[in-house]
């Protein structure tokens, strides 16, 4: 981010400032600030040892003339004086940075821009390699704060420290595991990861960000597209540019680097971290970076994703595919493929631009990788004509239908969906409760048995028809063929000790609903429940 203050006039405060020398110091400062009336001023207080009220008044008078005046490098003792007297509310007063040594500290994370060290029992420090680390830290803190205010669960650093020649930000150590770690250590929890990941994506993509707070990601991608468009065959570059330009502007939040290392589970709370790439735009831009993280970078050499994430290319691809299906609420492979092709039209130009600007040692491999990306892009541009994910998603989705992972954890979402539909008709609370019960019985059955021991998706369809008002709820899954209606009703007249444990759910459902029918068609179990209101 551009820090206008870098152009500010700087002056130093040092030693003691009290009534004995305040006027001398004021005269000196005024001399240094002469000809800069109204301009931003930075007073460096690193060597300031003491300041009395006479000194405070000198600063107060300067603030009246230079609205954008800040005092930096203030020791904690002196900061306290500024705080007690209200100066910290009136102007920017920045504390001196604590110095932290990371010698011998455990490295608990490493990213492209720096390392994360554990400095004591409760704290970690994230260091930055680049020269303008301070500006970057400030930027990240600001956007993380903004995200938190807008409702994104995230971690915010509480202190900025000096680490050697550079700077770091200190975070409380969260007892947190990244989704990357979970996928490696407990691959059976992939469905949990997909569900929470999609929930988080949908959450941030639903947040409207006030104008001007975050950069527009479309601009950044457009720059990349402009740089690579001339390396594409005649006409295709312009077609691509036209398609990207046609993506509508959006004020929705985009993380910009949302892969499984940047989403963590702390206790039972899911947090999004590494907020420095936060921006606004159409969700397709989010998917661009996600596709590259899971698939794009490692299309030529599948070892890359293993190096970066620690899980293999197959796992990465599966996670990505299931994420798309869940995000767009469909298990229609054609729809998912159509979405993915549009995303890849953006992902490849970005990769080509990135690779051109980050040359490595293995020229031959780089060329082969870029050639592969380019050829795939060219092929896609032959058949993709727009980058509108909304259209695909809407076409693949029916407002009367919910497509969801068949998992008991999703029961609430299914019930909510059904109740929302029931609200459109005049349904009594009793009938609604009964139908919720029926939906629970059927959905839990599918979740537990249809795909066991694997996981799969289910579709729940709710329709309300008139005269007489009838609710029709249809459950569709692609699991093992099973007709629940064939099962004999349990004998409810038997004493408790002699009754069968199972079968009560479908029996209840039969009692509640007026009509049940089952068919197995096109590899799908289709169970239809009807109730007259």
């Amino acid at each position: 981010m551009n820090d206008k203050r870098e152009g500010a006039v700087r002056a130093a405060l040092s030693g003691r400032i009290d009534s004995g020398n305040a006027s001398v110091i004021e005269a000196e400062l005024r001399g240094q600030l002469e000809g800069h009336a109204g301009e931003p001023v930075i007073l460096d207080a690193e060597k300031l040892e003491y300041i009395s009220s006479a000194g405070l008044r000198v600063i107060l008078r300067l603030v009246k003339e230079h609205r954008d005046l800040r005092v930096v490098g203030v020791s904690s003792e002196i900061y306290e004086i500024f705080e007690m007297t209200g100066f910290t509310e009136m102007m920017t007063v920045e504390k001196a940075y604590r110095t932290v040594s990371v010698d011998g500290c455990e490295v608990i994370g490493e990213g492209f821009n720096g390392k994360v060290y554990r400095i004591d029992r409760d704290n970690v420090v994230k260091t930055y390699k680049n020269a303008d680390a301070l500006a970057e830290i400030r930027h990240e803190r600001e956007v993380a704060k903004l995200a938190l205010i807008l409702g994104v669960p995230t971690a915010i650093s509480y202190d900025v420290v000096r680490v050697g020649d550079s700077y770091g930000s200190v975070f409380e150590l969260l007892n947190a595991r990244s989704f990357t770690k979970i996928l490696i250590e407990e691959p059976e929890r992939m469905d949990f990861c997909v569900r929470e990941y999609v929930k988080m994506l949908k959450k941030i993509h639903s947040i409207a960000v006030p104008e001007g707070k975050l950069p527009k990601i479309k601009e950044k991608v457009l720059c990349a597209v402009r740089r690579v468009k001339d390396t594409l065959p005649e006409g295709l570059g312009d077609k691509l540019l036209g398609m990207v330009e046609a993506i509508p502007d959006s004020d929705r939040m985009i993380h910009g680097d949302c892969h499984t290392k940047n989403i963590v589970l702390a206790g039972d709370e899911v947090l999004l971290i590494d907020m420095d790439t936060l921006s606004v735009g159409d969700p397709i831009f989010e998917f661009l970076y996600m596709y590259n993280a899971y698939v794009g970078y490692s299309e030529y050499d599948p070892g890359i994703v293993l190096d970066f994430q620690g899980y293999d290319a197959k796992t990465a691809r599966e996670f990505w595919h299931r994420t798309l299906a869940a995000y767009f609420e469909t298990d229609d492979e054609d729809a998912i493929n159509a979405v993915e092709e549009k995303i890849r039209c953006l992902a490849y130009p970005y990769l080509l631009d990135w690779s051109a600007r980050h040359p490595g040692h293995d020229k031959e491999k780089e060329k082969a990788t870029a050639d592969l990306w380019r050829s795939r892009l060219v092929e896609l541009l032959g058949r993709v004509d727009d980058l509108d994910l909304g259209a695909v998603a809407a076409a693949g989705r029916d407002p009367d239908e919910l497509n969801i992972e068949a998992a008991t954890d999703n029961l609430d979402e299914v019930i909510n969906f059904v109740n929302e539909k029931l609200e459109t008709c005049d349904c009594s609370p009793k009938a609604q409760m009964q139908m919720d019960l029926a939906v629970e019985e059927i959905f839990v059955n599918i979740a537990n048995y249809a795909y066991a021991p694997d996981k799969g998706r289910a579709t729940v369809r709710v329709e309300v028809s008139d005269e007489p008002v009838t609710v029709t709820i249809t459950f569709i899954d692609r699991g093992v063929p099973y007709d629940p209606l064939k099962k004999d009703d349990p004998d409810v007249t038997l004493p408790a000790g002699e009754r069968e444990v199972g079968g009560l759910g479908i029996f209840l459902t039969k009692q509640i609903m007026d009509d049940l029918s089952y068919e197995y068609r096109d590899g799908q179990n289709i169970l239809t429940l009807k109730k007259k209101l």
Partner: protein
Amino acid sequence: MSVPRRIDLHMHTSVSDGTDSPEEILGKVRSLDLDMFSVTDHDAVKACAVIRGLLRDGDPVFVPGAEFSCRDEEGKYHILGYGFDPEDPAVLELVALGHSLRMKKVTARLEYLRDKFGFTFPDGETEALLALDNPGKPHIGNLMVKYGYAASKEEAITKYINGIRFKKEYVRPEEAIRGILDAGGIPVLAHPFYGDGDDLILGDEMDKRILRLMDFGLLGVEAFYSGFTAKLRCEMIATAERHGLLITAGSDYHGANKMVRLGDTGLDEEEEFPEGLCRFLDIFEK
């Protein structure tokens, strides 16, 4: 007339250490379009009589005033007096006491500089100095610069003049408060957080200080002051309300001797005034 909204009750003329003469300051007050003002020289009331003689119809309300430097075992204070009769013996006595202590100190300082460093000044200069209404360290400092003993007034004060200290020669706050009350005036603690100008007194210490001065008869505090931040201002207003004290507003304008604008008190004329300030203004409204 309507309730005064634009006020400045704390300023210094050349009678003490300001640089504007009483006539000049009156001219500035007029051009600023103030509704009420007071001139508060250090331990001196001469400017009050001068200004009274110059006032004409349509001028802002003038409140006679003075600022007394006080000290006791607990610290230093500047006590403002408002609305007394400048001819009243009680005030004149106070002024005379302050003045004599001041003269004593000036004389002692000049002797100290002569004996310790060998700094001497032509007779005419020392006479002129002693003839001033309120000579002090800055005046001696200026002389030293003029005769090449120091590079600047500040160096003169910190390196040489401050070499001699006076522990017992001061006016006590209860004396100042009593004198002001006896002359029919209102005693007010100037820039409370800053003591005599260079302390920084906060929290409990501030509260204790005010309670002690109230025991002596203090009636008000200068809660609006050019050198206060909004937070300090709010705190002092709350303190005044807690103790039922009057509130005043002053800039402490010193002409070219201090970087303070006349009329800059931190009081926003558009805002509702605190009750203690309204009460103070009511007393002096024409």
